[in-house]
Structures are given as structure tokens and as C-alpha cells.
């Protein structure tokens, strides 16, 4: 995959002209900031629409989507370039399987990244969940925690929460906006808890939330752009948010050995080895020697000796 040629972003042609225009603008903005490459990692629970979102953004069916099964057995990287600008999107399998966070999946993601992204940075993390889920539970926290444990807390500087299935009718007595804000707020709270972001750090970690509707029945506006129930076309919106994150001044997550393997325990405490050795000699070996000498003295001698 790494070896494969980076394809021209042909899918952009599929978009309505208005969308194309906005995207080109955003790409130009990135180029102006000397950013010619964007690596986006997409993670989340299974079946929330990670792959579909990628397909929507790229504009072509790059990753296979099947409705009823875990469609992505292993991470897949999609790279598209346009006018000297490259976008890498990494699709990953759902982190939750059978009600638990699947460590093996996490490992496979890490080893995949280790293979293809060594010494490169992750610019944006898309944490994907559904808008139409009403409850946030412990599992969500665990997923966030697993991501944090793997990539470090810093990744949440570069994160964005993406809520799919945006086209829904909210339950009674709630406006769409109210429902959206409630849902996003509860999810963000969960993310903060899972990522152990303390209250005073909240300002530092401004995690944007974007809405996505991948369904073909998505409403469209007069320019044939897919729009959200609020009326905003969502693809430019998402890409805009992504650009903002990419340009938010925080460094990307450098994917190096340390990140895959965690902190190198082999180096920990190495400096103290001489001290430890001295301690062992004076406080372990010497006392044992003393004890032996005491044993010898105390030994019950036979009556004849």
C-alpha cells in the first residue's frame, strides 16, 4: 500500500461544483500554510460508519462497506493527491468487539501504523460515533481510554468528534440543535474522562464536533450538495474542521517507535543502577552474610565438640 502510487484525487470531480470550489479553497489554504500533506486517522466503535464517512469524503467507494458485518478486518490507508497536495486517510476496524475493547485490533492498528507511518505524523484523528445513539456508556470511555493509552493524551489536541447518521428526527420536545448539543456534550464529556483531561485543561483541548450523513437519501440543497438538517452542506464543513485542526498550531503526533511500544522500560532507571547495586551489596548481601556468620556461631554443636 505504501508502495502503491498515490492516486490522483479523482473523486473530487464527483462532488457538486459548490463543494468542489470550497474544497479547493481549503486545500489552497493548507498549501498557503506550507502543508502539502494531511494524515487522518479514523477510529471508533464498530459499525458507526467510519468507512462510509471516508468514502463520502473521498467521493469514491475506496473502502468496502458491508452493512452487517465487521467490514474492515484490518487497517486500510487511502491516499489521494490533488495539485501537489496529498491526503492520507487510514481506516481502521472497529475497536469494540463482543462488548469489549479489542486489544488485538488496537495492536494491529499500531503495527500497521508502525509499518507505513514510521517517523511520520498523524495530523488529525477522527473519532467517529453515531449521532442517533442516545446514551453514552462505559464502553465509550474504554474506547477513548484505549486510544489514549496507545497514542498518548496529546492526540486529543488533534482530534475531532464526528457524528454520523446526522439526518434524524430528534425525539419529541427537542429541537435538532438541542439534541445535537446534548449528544455532543455528553460524548465530549466521555472523551474528556476517558482521555483524563482535567477540567482546567478543557480549554486546551477544544475538540470540535462535526456531523456527517453518509446515506444516499441525504437531503441536498440547491447546489446539489448534501446537507444536514440544519441546512449546512456537511462535506465542506467536515473538511473545513479538519483543516482547522491541522492548522491549530499544535504539533501532530509523531509516530515513532516509542509510540508503538510505549515508553521504553529498558531505559527507565538505568541511571540508578550503580545506586541499586550499592544498596544490594550493603543492605542485602552483607546482612545475609552476617546472618550466616550468626548461624555458624549459633549452630548447636554436638556434645563432643
Amino acid at each position: 500500500m505504501a508502495g502503491q502510487l498515490v492516486k490522483e484525487w479523482a473523486g473530487i470531480q464527483q462532488f457538486p461544483a459548490a463543494t468542489q470550489e470550497k474544497l479547493v479553497d481549503l486545500l489552497a489554504k493548507l498549501k498557503n500554510q506550507n502543508v502539502d500533506k494531511l494524515t487522518i486517522l479514523v477510529m471508533g466503535k464498530g459499525g458507526v460508519g467510519k468507512s462510509s464517512t471516508i468514502n463520502s469524503i473521498i467521493g469514491e467507494p475506496v473502502v468496502t462497506v458491508s452493512a452487517f458485518q465487521s467490514e474492515t478486518p484490518r487497517p486500510v490507508m487511502v491516499s489521494r493527491s490533488r495539485a501537489g497536495f496529498t491526503m492520507n486517510i487510514i481506516d481502521t476496524p472497529g475497536l469494540v468487539e463482543g462488548g469489549y475493547v479489542n486489544d488485538q485490533v488496537l495492536d494491529s492498528i499500531k503495527s500497521f501504523l508502525g509499518r507505513f507511518l514510521m517517523m511520520k505524523t498523524i495530523d488529525v484523528l477522527l473519532y467517529v460515533d453515531r449521532l442517533d445513539a442516545y446514551r453514552v456508556d462505559d464502553l465509550d470511555k474504554q474506547v477513548v481510554k484505549a486510544i489514549t493509552d496507545s497514542f498518548g493524551k496529546e492526540i486529543w489536541h488533534k482530534a475531532m468528534v464526528v457524528l454520523t447518521h446526522a439526518q434524524l428526527s430528534p425525539p419529541d420536545a427537542l429541537t435538532y440543535e438541542e439534541f445535537f448539543s446534548k449528544r455532543s456534550e455528553s460524548l465530549l464529556k466521555c472523551v474528556r474522562q476517558g482521555a483524563r483531561i482535567s477540567k482546567k485543561d478543557v480549554q486546551n483541548f477544544a475538540i470540535p464536533v462535526a456531523l456527517v450523513e453518509n446515506s444516499g437519501r441525504c437531503n441536498k440543497n440547491e447546489h446539489d450538495e448534501k446537507i444536514l438538517p440544519t441546512g449546512t452542506p456537511w462535506i465542506p464543513n467536515v473538511v473545513h474542521a479538519i483543516t482547522n485542526i491541522a492548522l491549530n498550531g499544535k504539533g501532530g503526533i509523531l509516530f515513532d517507535k516509542k509510540l508503538i511500544e510505549g515508553p521504553n522500560a529498558n531505559d527507565r532507571g538505568k541511571l540508578f543502577i550503580p545506586l541499586i547495586l550499592a544498596f544490594q551489596y550493603f543492605f542485602v548481601i552483607r546482612p545475609i552474610q552476617k546472618q550466616i556468620r550468626y548461624d555458624v556461631a549459633r549452630e548447636t554443636k554436638p556434645s563432643w565438640a
Binding site: 522500560a265 529498558n266 538505568k270 543502577i273 547495586l277 544490594q280 545475609i288 555458624v296 549452630e299 554436638p302
Partner: protein, 814 residues
């Protein structure tokens, strides 16, 4: 004179044995020199090791492992003490109560013929016929003659017919002083060899009377016979027991190596004045003798006990002295002084009883080498090597003690240089009462080589063995022992299951051992060892947890050199420190070097992207590190079970020499307590106490930690009930265990509970093999078991899954 050898009896458990096949024979030598009365059956200690195999194996306790029984010694010593009591002629004079072990001059009586039957001239010996001796005379086939006299008449001994064999139907001792007969349990019956229903001639009876008269216990003794209607005779022995003034002091002196008091012939025609003079000089001599004698080993409590006996008694009688003699000798025998004997009682008729003891002082220590035929030859082993193994108590000037002899035997045996060891005490002919300790050694062959071969036939193509599939395998080993006579040795071995293609599994070992680094005379016991080795072990790090499919195994091949110095503080406690340089190669099943562990993917495929096996990442590591191990082992066997403490601290200190400059400090501390829960008496055949074993093991590593040095949890020596490494592989671990051992008959049953924990440090091992192979990182187990000989059968419940299984294990867990 007869001696009494008891049945050989297992006594000396040789725990530090040199050989796998060993016979310890009980050798009891009956030493008697014509010139002297036999003193004691000298015990001799010996050990035979008939194996070439130097591996220290613990020999199974077998009844053959017997040296000599204390009972045996006790009996033999008791049987040989002879009495020769001189009867005091003039009250107030010293009477000397001689017992016969003093060599030739046992005449000690001064009394002359005073009492009529005092054995005056030359001092006869009082004989002791053991029942066996009597039995010889007492042949049931033999006819006996009727006395041919009217019944119920008393016949003087000299009136009996010299040609008849008389059958004795009853023997009675008649105490003239008390005018009563003495019960059969009295000690007098021990000294008379006549037995009821025995058949004796007149000469025999006369001899018996003579020996009774000279034994010193009687002031006057006679032998009367009374005829019975059935033709048999009854014997009555009227006697007057020797008695002396009552005494209120007791003294025990060691007269070993001193001249025995020789009686001066007294001229019966001496005048009263001369006689007084004579007695006075004798008294003076005796006082001087006491002064010159050395204090004896008899402890105060026993002396007080004897004094108590004396005080209760009033007059000192012969039987009293006999009892004192028995008590004193009993103490000596119980405490291992097998050659100690009461030889004399002196200073009688004063207020004091002086007990003269020959304790068995060692006058000489002889070390001899024997060749195969048992002839004395020149040995290769240097004497200091043997001498340093001997306890101080075997040196010249000490009193011979059989336990010291046993220890010497054990220590020499642990040198593993001799096929046969004998420690014999022998009476010193030049020094009266002295003992020469002889150590006779048969040396093992210095050089030995061994080749053992085996052919294995591997099914070839088509499952049929072909000529090419026959593999010659085996072991070639050689050993050069006891180089320069200083117990240095060089040994090597090469093993392969296929000599045509030995690179597959060639195992080799070459070791040089150099004891007495500080000099053979220096009591500090340090041994230098250098060795070249290789080993192949299955890594418990790359093992699956419960429920995971078979994890492809990884083999750890180590090859290197090692040099260390071991200092032995006690038999079990020691300190070892040295340098290890080794190459570690990690291989998979097909012997290919593998840099990473393999794992089975959910799809069934195998991927080789598991945890790295080595520091270098190539599958081959080189490293040099310092290794130290200090063991404090204060455990001992109490009636067959272990009690005491054991602490072991092991340290591997990386030096930054090797692949990736490994710098690490890997340490582990093991603490085991065997707590005795009940006080029990020590002794063979006594039940062992219940024991609570508490065990803790901490292992940790700071710095570079390759997978092969990670601490693994689970297994028969870690947490029972799990497989090796089933619980995880971690940087720091803690294991705790408790086991309660309850003695059941000859063995013990036990219950145990164990726990092992990675202290959250599994993730600090590169690649986190614990997690990759789906292991818990901690686990507990509990179970019950029983020890059956060397095998432990136990049922252990694995607490993680809650299932139990039956295990059979060899050896001890702790």
C-alpha cells in the same frame, strides 16, 4: 573371653554422599591381643562408594547403610569390663578395685590371701561367659549323669565325682550377711556363667567358683551343691559381698595414657610395721596418681547423680560399684565415647570413691591409602586435603568420639575422591589406654573416560527406516580427578543424538574445578570454577495463556563461558560470584533463528511479528555480566522433614558489554521459612513434626531486559497448577506461597496456596509477551498433595479458571 556383637543397625544417614551406588558396611573388629584382656570391640566406620559417577546423588535410605550401632558398642563395652576386686585386709588401707581393661597388669590386689578366697597370686581374671558361650556346653543331646547320691543332702564341691556330668536344676545366691537368697534379677546372676538346666562337670564348677572368688565382688564365696531326688543337683552360692566404708565424695578421673597401678608384691612375712609402711606408701602413690590424672569428661549432673547413689547406699558395696561403673559407662557410650571404660575404683575405705576411667585418648592419627587389593600404598591425595575435613575431635590428644569419627567419614566422603573410607580406632600398643585413629582410604581412579552410544532409527521417506536414517548418538565424557592430589578436577562431556550431524543438538560441557583457592591450610573454603557450556531450553516467555491456541515454541540456546568463585560458609550456605559471557540464540521449532516471537492470527495463519526475542533484534545476543548468588541455608532434617530458614539472593549485573550494550541489574530474592509447628523429640523412628512452609520470591530487573531474562509466572516451581509461564512474563514479579505439611506415617501430606503477580510490570517487557499471548499476568492456586517417595502427587486448582488437575512432580517445590 567372648564378645558380643549386636546386629548391625542403620545409624548414619549419609546425606552428602559421593556416589549413587554405595554400600556402607558395618565392620566390627574384634581386637584382642594375647597380652591383654580385651578392652572393647572397637567400632570401625567405613563407607564404600563403588561408583565412578561423581554426580552427587542422594542415596536412597537403605538398611544397608549401616555403620555401627551404639547398642552394639554398649554391649561390647559392657561385656568386656572385668572385675578384680582386692579385698581389704587391714581396714583403712586403700583398696583398689580393678577392672580388667588395663592391659596386662591387672593384679591390683594387695590383700594377699586374707579372705580365704581372695584371688591372691598374680590376679586371676574374672570371666564372663556370655549366654552363647554357655550354650556350647549345654548341648541338649548330651546325656547327663545322675549324682548317684541320696536326695536332699548337701555335698561339698570337692566331694563330687570328677567323672560325672551333673545337671543343675537351680542356682541360688545366698547372702550370708542378710541370710537371704538373692533374686534372679540381681546383677550377680550376670557374672555367673552357670545356668539352670545346664550340665557341668566338677572341673567346670570348680573353675566357676574360682572365677567368682577372684572377681573381686565377694569377700567370701563358696559353692555348695544339694542333691535332688531326680538325680539333678541344686547349687547354692553362699557369699559375703565385699563392702567398704561409706563414702560421701565421688571423683572421676581420666587415667588414660598413665601407667596402670601395678601392685607391688607383698611379702606375706612382713612385719606389722613394714606392712603399715607399705600401705602408707601405697596411699601416697595413689594420691600422686590422682594428682597426675586429668579431669574427665563426665559432667557434673552425672557425678551428682552418682554421689546421690553413694549417699543413699551407706556402705559402699561391690554391687554399688558395679552400678556406678554401669552408670558412668552408660554416659560415655551414650555420648559417643565408644572407647571409654571404667578401669578401676580406687581410694576405697576412705570417704571418697575414685572412679578411674580410660577415656580413649587419641595418641596418633594415621592416614593410609589402600590399593585395590587392600594393601597399604602411596596415595595421590595430599594429606592436608584429608586433614582439613577431619573434625578437631579426631586430632591427637582428644578423646576419641564415634560421632566425630562419623563426621570425619561423612566429610571425607563428600570429597568424592575415595571409593572406600574406613575410620578405625585401634588401641595403641605402646601407650596404654591410647587410641590410634586409622583412616584407610581407597582412591578412585584419577582419570576416567566414558563413551555411551545409542542408535536411533528415524523413519525415513515412506515411513520406512533406511540406512541413512540410522543416527548414531551418545555421550563422550572424560574426567581427570584429583589433579596434583589437591582435588582439582577437569571434566568434559559431549552429547549429541546424531554424531553425523552434530550441529543440531550438540551439548557440551567442559569444567575445571580448583578448590582451596586460599591454600589448603587456610580454613577459608573457596573454590574456583571455570566452565564452558551450552544449553537449550524452551522459553516459557513465548507460551500461551489459557484458551489460546498453541503458541509456536521458541528455544533459547545459550553457549558461553563462566568463571566463578564459591565460598562455602557451612555445608549449605555459600556465596558465589563470577563472570558470565554468553551468546544467546533464539530459535523456532525448525531451528531457524527467530528475532520475534510468533503468534497465531485469528485467521489461523502464523505471523512472526510477536514480541522481540532479543535485545539486538536479530535473534542473537551476546553479553557479559557479573553474577552473584548468596545462599543462606540454615535448614536441617528433623526426623526426615526439613525445618529452618533459607534465603537466596541472586544478582545479575550487566556491564554494558555485548549487543546493544546491555546494562541491567537483575535481582531476585527468595525467602523460605520452614516453621516447625510442634516440638518433637529427635531420633530415628520418631515422627516428624507438622511444618508450615512460607515462601516468598521477588524478582526484578532495572535496565535492559531481553525476553529470555524476563521473569515468568506459573509452573511447578512458581505457581503450581499452571503450566510454565502460563501466567505471564514480567519485569518484576512477586510470588508467595504457603504450604502446611502434616506427617502421615512415613511420609507427609500437604495443603498449599500460592499466588504469583507481575506487579503490573508485564507491559515493561519489550513487546509485552504477557498480553500478546493472552495471559493474565497474575494468578493463584491452591490444592492438596501427598509425597510418595521422591514423587509428589498433587491436585491443584487453578484459580483463574477454577479448574483442577492432578499433577505428578519429582523433587521438592521449596
Amino acid at each position: 573371653m567372648s564378645s558380643f556383637a549386636g546386629p548391625p543397625h542403620p545409624l548414619l544417614p549419609l546425606t552428602s554422599s559421593a556416589a549413587s551406588r554405595r554400600r556402607n558396611s558395618a565392620v566390627v573388629s574384634h581386637l584382642s591381643s594375647p597380652s591383654s584382656v580385651i578392652q572393647c570391640n572397637f567400632p570401625s566406620l567405613s563407607a564404600t562408594s563403588s561408583s565412578q559417577n561423581p554426580e552427587p546423588l542422594i542415596p536412597p535410605p537403605s538398611p544397608l547403610n549401616s555403620i555401627i550401632s551404639p547398642k552394639n558398642i554398649a554391649l561390647s563395652a559392657a561385656s568386656c569390663v572385668l572385675f578384680h576386686i582386692a579385698k581389704p585386709v587391714i581396714p583403712g588401707s586403700d583398696a583398689i578395685f580393678n577392672s580388667g581393661s588395663g592391659g596386662g597388669g591387672s593384679g591390683g590386689d594387695s590383700g594377699g590371701g586374707g579372705g580365704g578366697n581372695g584371688g591372691g597370686e598374680g590376679g586371676g581374671f574374672w570371666r564372663f561367659f556370655s549366654p552363647e558361650a554357655v550354650a556350647k556346653d549345654d548341648d541338649p543331646q548330651q546325656e547327663w549323669d545322675s549324682h548317684g547320691l541320696p536326695a536332699n543332702i548337701v555335698v561339698q564341691l570337692n566331694k563330687l565325682s570328677g567323672f560325672k556330668k551333673y545337671k543343675v536344676s537351680e542356682i541360688l545366691f545366698l547372702d550370708r550377711r542378710r541370710a537371704s537368697t538373692v533374686g534372679t534379677e540381681d546383677s550377680f546372676f550376670e557374672i555367673v556363667s552357670l545356668r539352670p538346666r545346664g550340665i557341668y562337670t566338677k572341673a567346670q564348677l570348680q573353675k566357676e567358683l574360682e572365677s567368682l572368688a577372684t572377681c573381686g565382688m565377694f569377700e567370701k564365696v563358696d559353692l555348695e551343691t544339694k542333691t535332688n531326688p531326680d538325680g539333678t543337683i541344686n547349687i547354692t552360692i553362699p557369699f559375703l559381698e565385699s563392702t567398704w566404708q561409706s563414702a560421701d565424695r565421688f571423683r572421676c578421673i581420666n587415667v588414660g595414657l598413665m601407667q596402670q597401678s601395678k601392685p607391688i608384691e607383698m611379702d606375706p612375712d612382713m612385719t606389722e610395721k613394714e606392712r603399715l609402711e607399705y600401705y602408707r606408701s601405697q596411699e601416697k602413690d595413689y594420691r600422686r596418681r590422682i594428682e597426675r590424672s586429668r579431669p574427665c569428661l563426665l559432667p557434673m549432673p552425672v557425678q551428682r547423680e552418682i554421689l546421690q547413689m553413694l549417699r543413699e547406699q551407706g556402705k559402699v558395696s561391690a554391687r554399688m560399684l558395679q552400678r556406678i561403673r554401669d552408670r558412668v559407662q552408660q554416659w560415655y557410650n551414650e555420648n559417643g565415647y565408644a572407647c571409654a571404660q571404667v578401669v578401676n575404683f580406687g581410694n576405697l575405705n576412705t570417704k571418697e570413691v575414685v572412679c578411674e576411667v580410660v577415656e580413649g585418648d587419641i595418641t596418633q592419627l594415621q592416614i593410609q591409602f589402600l590399593d585395590k587389593l587392600g594393601n597399604v600404598c602411596e596415595g595421590n591425595t595430599q594429606f592436608p586435603v584429608i586433614k582439613r575435613e577431619l573434625p578437631k575431635q579426631l586430632r591427637q590428644g582428644q578423646v576419641f568420639n564415634i560421632d566425630a569419627g562419623r563426621e570425619a567419614l561423612r566429610n571425607i566422603n563428600s570429597l568424592a575422591l575415595f571409593s572406600n573410607i574406613e575410620v578405625n580406632p585401634r588401641p595403641d600398643e605402646k601407650n596404654e589406654g591410647g587410641i590410634i585413629v586409622e583412616i584407610k582410604l581407597k582412591e578412585l581412579e584419577q582419570k576416567s573416560a566414558e563413551v555411551s552410544t545409542e542408535w536411533s532409527i528415524v523413519p525415513g521417506r515412506g515411513g520406512r527406516p533406511t540406512l541413512a536414517s540410522i543416527q548414531p548418538g551418545g555421550t563422550v565424557s572424560f574426567e581427570h580427578r584429583n589433579i596434583k592430589g589437591l582435588n582439582r578436577s577437569l571434566l568434559g562431556s559431549v552429547t549429541s543424538s546424531n554424531f553425523l550431524n552434530p550441529q543440531d543438538d550438540l551439548a557440551f560441557k567442559l569444567e575445571y574445578v580448583h578448590p582451596y583457592v586460599d591454600g589448603v591450610y587456610n580454613p577459608r573454603n573457596r573454590t574456583f570454577r571455570a566452565s564452558c557450556f551450552n544449553s537449550r531450553k524452551l522459553s516459557p516467555v513465548f507460551t500461551g495463556g489459557p484458551g489460546i491456541e498453541e503458541v509456536p515454541p521458541i528455544w533459547v540456546d545459550r553457549a558461553g563461558v563462566k568463571a566463578n568463585i564459591t565460598e562455602n560458609f557451612t555445608r549449605q550456605s555459600k556465596f558465589t560470584y563470577g563472570l558470565v559471557m554468553e551468546e544467546i540464540t533464539m530459535r523456532d521449532e525448525s531451528s531457524h533463528i527467530s528475532a520475534n516471537g510468533q503468534r497465531v492470527l485469528p485467521s489461523g495463519g502464523v505471523s512472526a511479528d510477536g514480541p522481540p526475542t532479543t535485545l539486538s533484534g536479530t535473534g542473537v545476543d551476546h553479553m557479559a555480566f557479573l553474577q552473584a548468588n548468596i545462599t543462606r541455608d540454615d535448614t536441617k532434617f528433623l526426623n526426615g522433614t526439613t525445618v529452618g530458614d533459607r534465603n537466596v539472593f541472586q544478582l545479575d549485573q550487566g556491564l554494558g558489554i555485548g549487543s546493544k550494550f546491555p546494562l541491567f541489574n537483575r535481582h531476585q530474592l527468595t525467602v523460605t521459612r520452614f516453621l516447625q509447628l510442634k516440638h518433637v523429640e529427635e531420633g530415628a523412628g520418631k515422627p516428624p513434626p507438622p511444618v508450615l512452609v512460607l515462601h516468598g520470591h521477588y524478582g526484578g530487573c532495572v535496565g535492559d531486559l531481553p525476553s529470555y531474562d524476563a521473569f515468568t509466572l506459573g509452573g511447578p516451581y512458581s505457581v503450581r497448577g499452571y503450566n510454565m509461564g502460563e501466567l505471564g512474563a514480567a519485569r518484576n514479579i512477586l510470588e508467595v506461597a504457603a504450604e502446611l505439611r502434616i506427617p502421615v506415617r512415613n511420609t507427609h501430606a500437604y495443603v498449599f496456596a500460592e499466588h504469583g503477580n507481575d506487579l503490573g510490570s508485564s507491559k515493561d517487557v519489550k513487546g509485552n509477551p504477557t498480553e500478546v499471548y493472552r495471559r493474565m499476568g497474575h494468578g493463584s492456586s491452591y490444592g492438596v498433595g501427598v509425597k510418595l517417595g521422591l514423587v509428589r502427587a498433587e491436585y491443584a486448582v487453578d484459580h483463574n479458571s477454577g479448574t483442577g488437575a492432578l499433577f505428578f512432580r519429582f523433587g521438592e517445590r521449596f
